[in-house]
Symmetry: C2
Amino acid sequence: MLRLTQYTLCPHSRSVRLALAELRLDFELNYEEPWAWRQSFLSLNPSGALPVLEIDEVLVLCGTYAISEYLSECYPEHPDDGGPVPLFPGDPEQRAEIRRLVDWFHLKFDREITRELLIEKHYRRTVGEKGRPPDSQILRAVGKNLRYHMDYICFQVDRNNWLAGEQLSFADLAAAAHISVLDYLGEIPWDDYPSAMEWYVRLKSRPSFQPVLEDYMSIQPPTSHYANLDF
Amino acid sequence: MLRLTQYTLCPHSRSVRLALAELRLDFELNYEEPWAWRQSFLSLNPSGALPVLEIDEVLVLCGTYAISEYLSECYPEHPDDGGPVPLFPGDPEQRAEIRRLVDWFHLKFDREITRELLIEKHYRRTVGEKGRPPDSQILRAVGKNLRYHMDYICFQVDRNNWLAGEQLSFADLAAAAHISVLDYLGEIPWDDYPSAMEWYVRLKSRPSFQPVLEDYMSIQPPTSHYANLDF
């Protein structure tokens, strides 16, 4: 039995949800608010970071890095039979490229865009700072960063079939996790980035993505096109 | 031929220097100032992150995550012969614990302590803001965070021989990289943390650590006890 402790708009949680679904594993979701720092959650993961994956109520895996590598080591893949695809396909050099891009999105994109946008446009209204408007200086910086990163996604998928090469990998899932959070909030200027849009539509169309597209937070519903496969 | 592009007081660079030395690989150091964003460096790693490892002038590995996992996959370990120890020893569960702790130091400890201290106490004087004193509010918060993290190191090494278990692993190297940067700056209140001190002395005594203990930046020399093996 797999139990993933996660938050709906946490990009790290989303990347692991996508990975578990790509590996065709059954799992239940356990909702946790990352700002709450509840004692029962901290006893599960003292770092306070999401997501956490519990396996058979015995093994506790903390954080995207430990979880994604563990899944890659322990769960079988059968891409030739039309079965689950590997999270880190290829030789060590190709895996290094996948891991470089996982860092790109889970560290750099997160720091320069997702974390700031979530604070300004989501957490504040959720934790009760509704009266305080978003910081326009931060939003301008984030918007500029986003254009750079969207160009980078286009650059990568124009060279390859997927972000890190010819095969889908965890790099695509990490990137799509961040993009899907921004798209939920209506922040992606899709018309300017057709290559990134085509890549994201391919991901959105995968069965692994459907539960993510069904996410709905009543305090902040998704933008109207969020779940459309053809925008 | 291995060439590591790094900065002397970058904790991520230091963890990879230690890993390369533990694997008994010969490598040359290429100095790069992380705030300079030089075009020639960005053409090596567009994310601008250190360290970068070049192998035989052909393969370019970017970032601690990609480098450490690549080294683990590609370079032989022979701990039974007294040879190099594995960076991620044990079964998948033990490796997940190592990776949890690598994240703990390279993400959490870095965000809550090292990055802030380097900005306040090193980068400012280095990039020419000598007149501006450190922000005392930030230093107080960092000091409080450091006591929590030192307690956590003691907690872990009191339970185990090394941070993640009975064997030395990349978790120890990542943690020691951060501790060594803070120790260079004279920021560790060693007397209050004898278990952490005993663990750090064990690491300092390893051959892999000697080049790190010889680091000397003329703009900011190390604290007097930095290179002493017995404090």
